[in-house]
């Protein structure tokens, strides 16, 4: 675009609608992502997938493929890796950790806007707070989608490499069914991690403290939910962190898939409504 064209652009200084505000927020937040920490975060996501894939292949034993393509087993047996699900099994198994990582990141990032005081600069520039958040989440989810594609590809490449090392037959990996399954798994991971991202963002908006938000997110999805799950196995059907993780994994034999998907969506909508209400109504004193 030439300078003249730039100049000719209508530069309205007053918003004309919520969608315009969302668009502005999207562009603004996207501009902020051009920094090393973004590369580090995306790299961490890819590294997690690679690590998961390497461990999946390296630690697989020779047991029977009891649940081909299933996700109940933490480390599936070697024959299961030769099924159509084997290509991105490592990627899928990493999704729980990806979700938790995203939960903590989102809880920290937005709360930091409050602790740094940058939130007031933002709201003085864009008083339509809900629109601003929509744009911000749009950028975050766009980045997540792209980062997950990258992690997906790297994980698949690693799986091919590891299959050669472990002597896994990859004949079923490139069938139509395998590719459809891969696409479905990608969408499940994206959906599950999106739920984690919404929960983390909501937590930070409600708590407004970086340390407290991260601690609560970590304590709840880390020790607390798993302690409850150990005492009550059906907790996997109801507790939000476990439900989101279940969506990412594409369901399991205990909770199935549709139940967690429905409940997870309800959880996500509920926390989003609470967060948006807080965002729109609470004073900014940071």
């Amino acid at each position: 675009m030439t300078t003249q064209q730039l100049v000719a652009q209508p530069l309205r200084s007053v918003d004309r609608g919520l969608w315009i505000a969302v668009g502005r927020s999207y562009r603004s937040e996207a501009r902020k992502l051009r920094r090393p920490s973004t590369v580090v975060a995306v790299g961490a996501l890819a590294a997690l997938s690679v690590l998961s894939t390497v461990l999946t292949f390296a630690l697989a034993d020779d047991g029977p493929p009891s649940a081909p393509g299933g996700s109940d087993a933490l480390l599936p047996p070697l024959p299961a890796l030769a099924t159509p699900a084997g290509l991105i099994l490592g990627f899928r198994l990493a999704s729980t950790f990806t979700g938790l990582l995203l939960l903590l990141l989102c809880a920290a990032m937005l709360a930091t806007e409050y602790s740094q005081g940058t939130i007031r600069m933002i709201f003085m520039r864009q008083p339509r707070r809900v629109s601003w958040l929509a744009g911000r989440m749009g950028v975050l989810l766009s980045l997540l989608a792209v980062a997950l594609v990258g992690a997906f590809v790297i994980s698949a490449a690693t799986a091919v490499l590891m299959a050669q090392i472990r002597g896994v037959d990859t004949g079923q990996w490139w069938t139509g069914e395998a590719l459809r399954r891969a696409g479905r798994d990608y969408l499940n991971v994206l959906l599950g991690t999106t739920c984690f991202a919404i929960a983390g963002t909501a937590l930070s908006l409600l708590i407004r403290s970086t340390t407290a938000a991260v601690l609560v997110a970590f304590a709840w999805t880390g020790p607390l939910e798993h302690i409850i799950e150990n005492a009550w196995p059906d907790a996997i059907k109801y507790l939000p962190g476990l439900v989101f993780a279940n969506i990412s994994r594409g369901g399991d034999s205990i909770a199935g898939y549709r139940g967690p998907l429905l409940l997870g969506s309800l959880y996500a909508v509920a926390v989003a409504v609470a967060a948006l209400t807080s965002l729109a109504r609470r004073d900014v004193t940071a």
């Binding site: 300078t3 100049v7 000719a8 007053v14 927020s25 603004s28 740094q116 339509r128 004193t285 940071a286």
Partner: protein, 431 residues
Amino acid sequence: MIAGVSYGAERRAEAVAGPTTRGGARRSLIGMNSSTQERPGRRQPAFPPGPGSARAADPAVDLAADRAASRATQAADRAADRPAEGADPTAIDVRGLSKRYGRRTVVRDLDLRIPVGAVAGFIGPNGAGKTTTLRMLLGLVRPTTGQGTVLGRPLAEPAGYLPRVGALIESPALYPRLSARRNLESLALLAGQYHPFWIDEVLDEVGLRDRADEEVRSYSLGMKQRLAIAAALLGDPDLLVLDEPTNGLDPMGIRLMRELIRDLAVRDGQPRTVVVSSHLLAEVEQICDWIIVVDRGELAYQGPPEGLLAADAARVTLRPEHVDDVGMLADLAAGLGLTVERAGDLVTAVLPAVTGPGAAETLGRPTRPPAPGGEDDDPQHLLRALLADLNRAAHAHGITLVEIAPNRVTLEERYTGLVARGTGRLMGDAA
């Protein structure tokens, strides 16, 4: 009464830029680009660039025309967003503004009226409610009660006026891991005011263009403060709200900031209102032509500084050439309606409070029919006239004065007395 008063625009213009700037060539924020420096009337940036400024490396392409076109587009847009001509000439007009947190009232029933084009000093002790008030005006804090307008738009709808407002509230809040340029770009994009020229302009304005691509975490506090002010200048706002803008600045930085604030108010010949919250009363006294004093959440005074300073009695010291004339001099002063004190060879005359309409009558001066806002009601003018009367009377009686020294109270003294008294509103409230 503030309606119709042209607050200090001429005075500021003369003090800062000289008469040629009034209604003359636009005094752009740019001022730094080689191509634009050739324009007559362009101002230099308030903060000088450091060594190695990127100005010298600017491309040879003359972007001045583009910038002018860009500005014209922006001006047209802004004009469309402004209320119609002839509307209320107040930049801020709010009434009954209150904020309660639980049972604690932070701001109580505040009525604020700041004329368009004023440089308003917002002063008060810590905890007086200054920042909360500014936050309410900026849509960050929801008022418990109160209504009014900011730049002609309802206070309850900040989205209507905030695009025309630039603000710095408390400490500079910036992303430490982003460069200065990236910080500004993200803010400009957020408001729909992004243009690469404008980023460079505001960076030039605060003298940070040569370090614009460094991460903000490497900046000193003063540089961060300047960058935050650059952020406030984005979009060429009609109303600038600066909360403690000199925090973290060294003496030279404070002086330059003062010049910048003065200049902002007169730039382009278009009315721009600046609200400055500060604890540096000397600074406020030098740059502001409108003062708002709040104490414990309540309005203590608002109006021109002269009204605040003249509301208390001022003292004038008179010293005759011959000690023998002290008695006659005292009688002459008393005859003019002044309270007189004698001490040695000095006569101290205490002037009555003079401010606002009718002040001339207060001083017992024969006046022409007063024009609202005219010099007959100007306390400074009245005081000068009274001093001339004293001098004339002494001369007429053969007394030669070797000293006639008005000991006016300073803003700091007046403010200290006002806040210490805690009595709330002044009699001389000009609003």
